[in-house]
Amino acid sequence: MRLSAFLLTKVGDLTKKVSNLPEKYITDTVEKVYYRTPRAIQYLDRTIKRKNFRFTTNRPWSGPAEFQNSPHKYRKKVFVEPLKDWNFFKGDRVQLLVGRDKGKQGIITQVIQERNWVIVEGLNTHLRRIGKDKDFPGSTVQSEAPLLVTTDIRLVDPSDLDACDVEWRYKPDGQRVRVSCRTGRIIPIPHKSEETVDYKRPTLYKAKQKDTPANVVKEVTFLPELKTFEMDLMDKMGIKEDRTRKPIFWY
């Protein structure tokens, strides 16, 4: 597998979804090109770009992630267990299996799919001192540490509020749903998982100045005709072309 393709596959789908950014923008920030040879005959086609990207709790396109992955910074390789299905979404209630808050339940606030991590609101926390100075002792804040989805948490069945294993099944209408193995109840995917940095729900998005309204986008103006794009435009604009082309040779 080529390195670029390798990096590309590693950025999680949920990460792309929550960012609401074009995919190319994300991949371009992840595989940062430092230098590319000009497209001229005297140059070989070569690119110098970032070789490894360490995914952390910071989003890959953000400034802190850029800093953590600055050139000449070596970090050990991380092994991430490949998963067949991703079961955890933002807004899900989960129960912790490890750590200080073992047995407690909380809501997922962030999903970091690249590392099989989730962050649960107010659980598995540590204290962090911020703004320490010569004169100022700094203020202490609680910050949540990520939890591994494979070993550290279990989903909570909403029918009896107890931890359960889940599997994906199909409803009679073909919809794919999460089902609790213990009770057989469907665990719905929360609306909070639709939330992106730009809006809480797609329907709640407010059109900005340069956005085209949805009704204009949906309007069908295409009428199929036996014309190419150029022929159609020439007809519409009243451009007449009577000249005949001389023979040309393609090679």
């Binding site: 074009p22 923008y25 490949p82 956005d211 085209t212 309204p213 986008v217 794009f229 001389k246 040779f249």
Partner: protein, 283 residues
Amino acid sequence: MFVIVFSRGTANGAKMASLAKVVNISRAINNVSQLFTNLTISPSIKCTSVLVSQLRVPRYGCAYVHTTPRRRALMEFFDDAKNWGEFDIKVGRAWRKDELRIKSNEDLHKLWFVLLKERNMLLTMEHAAKKDLEIFPNPERKYKVEESMSNLETVVRERNKAYHLLETGEDGERPGKLVHNQLGMMYYYRMCEHTIPKFMNNKWRQKYKFGYSGNAVHKFRKLYREKLWNEKRKARNRDRNHVMHLMKRFPNLDLEAVKEQYPDVDIENLKSQKKARGHFVPQ
């Protein structure tokens, strides 16, 4: 569906028609000359553009209905003044192919120029920000415009292809073929239109020499192929080692998921490897 990016009056008939209209040349020249004369007098471009545009707004006693977009001459290369110095300029998403497929050729033609203008504006603003050592807000806007433009081009080509296939049986695209250069490396040669046939075109024949021969080239090709093979071999070994490490680290590893991600690795063979044995009781 919610909104689409970058088109103040995109498919909006009257507004868009104005974009495609022929520019009133005399007016444009007048504007440009005014801009430059003002430039010499006042130090700030910002002030001059406002002055010029203010001059053109007729001051009627009644309400003034304005249907065509304001032409701001060279200032159209810059963003709206109220966006200057902003940290966050939010916009919607790019146009998708399916949304463009339902639009008429005329609409697509207009949309192309709306997008082109937007791209020019963004590139100008990016350059200006770089020059002043400032942060260019929301650089993904450029990606969104470019994605829209490439989608639009794809849709236009689809339509042209359909016409040509129906009428001539060929797709009407620029032809090309895979050829070897003189070092024996394969590349895709995109053909060109010529007014004279190949046998008369000495200049072209001197420039493009396809095919290879000779001992030295064959030797080079052998070494080059070895290099390519080594890269492939290393990638294969890397994947194999990676899977062994995964098996060592994770006792409850889902082997089917591994197989999906690394289809070239023979997992059954790896199970007996010492490197794949973890520090846990094997199941």
